[in-house]
Symmetry: C2
Subunit: 225 residues, 2 copies
Amino acid sequence: MGSEAVRPLVRTMSAQLTALVRSRIVSGAYAPGAALPQDALAAEFGVSKIPVREALLQLRAEGLVDVFAHRGFQVRSLTQDEAHEIFRLRLALEPQAIARGAQLAGQLERQSTGAAARELHQALEEGRREDAGDLNGAFHLALVVPARQRLTAEVLQRLLTLAQRYVRLHLQPTGRASRARREHEALLAAWMAGDAAGAEALASAHIRATYEDLIQVFGAHAERT
Amino acid sequence: MGSEAVRPLVRTMSAQLTALVRSRIVSGAYAPGAALPQDALAAEFGVSKIPVREALLQLRAEGLVDVFAHRGFQVRSLTQDEAHEIFRLRLALEPQAIARGAQLAGQLERQSTGAAARELHQALEEGRREDAGDLNGAFHLALVVPARQRLTAEVLQRLLTLAQRYVRLHLQPTGRASRARREHEALLAAWMAGDAAGAEALASAHIRATYEDLIQVFGAHAERT
DNA sequence: TGCAGTTATATCGTATACGATATAAGCACA
DNA sequence: TGTGCTTATATCGTATACGATATAACTGCA
């Protein structure tokens, strides 16, 4: 998920830091609300503040970080409102985009999507849960065929990244992995067959299932508090 | 449209430059494909490269600028593919978001949306076409009630900004202003009345009408070339 | 003791300076 | 005269340095 569209711009320090800090936020290593002092991060990474600032500004554009002028950056907090928005947006965009992807995909894209699915499922079987979020995002994104739907893929990539924190936090314990796998396989089969309508319906159902699990957790949490 | 969500972060140089360069790109003053050399811009604005870089990176995140490591920034080119994506995404998101906005809006939001509509129409009557794009975007965004749908509004704001260049370039000459005004007024009336379903349908029709005008121009252009 | 005003400090935002990279110019050679 | 390599140059990316801002600590007064 840390991919930067066109060129491998990952040679620059800013881009490396962007990927690193993003993964720490998504994984929870940098907790919601935590301050991100520029000098401290720069010292920790052995660089100056400038690439740190550029990375944090990029993450702000992605919605993972808040910035207050002259008061610094902090990890964006999690809110139920944002969770609802993320999944409403995904439901509005992703099924259609995947349907188009099913039509646009050539031989090459089918191969890489298949590879992404295998990587994801292998990681899940090996219990590498820390990789699951990124690999799940990569699989979902591959279904869109990013090269042929650049803007759509950019928007969706951000939404998938934003969704990760909520899924990690709230749905990790529940036993949804095996159900998600079945949903993925049905979706992938329709997509590979070029069945746009079928892929769209299955994608919609898959996203909605995750969304409803999340809402249920919210409800349970509300009762407890 | 140059609004920066939460705090008036427009005190910092980067933010001012972001707004300035954005408006120059959207207005066409910086043409598609044009190079954006950091040193030259810094000299022109009387600042150092650092706030210039931060502004350009922000605009890259917004999709108005491309960057190639060690080769610099340039204004993103216009493509038919992107135009299709922008309007497909808007159609998928905006009507729903406006329907929700119609439900969420309180007295305050109704007032500011009404004000945005008046500003837009006044600018059109006075022939201030250079302001029309921003004001149109502000009106569309107000219908969403950004304060209550933060992420959705952020995504839509970017799409509206991206759309501006295509609309300016291709639909300026055609006499759509008066039809757009009628569509706006019907939409606003439904929205003000809290008629979510009506607002959704009218928003969808309005966006689709613009989209179809654009497609027609593309077709005409394809014939000529 | 509590509060308003003032000063001190830490962090931020940006200017300056410099090493690194990619492209363009120049050169030797075929 | 054209082609592959070397060198030169312009621009980029980042380190260092410093002035600006917001918050926190402090002081005097009610």
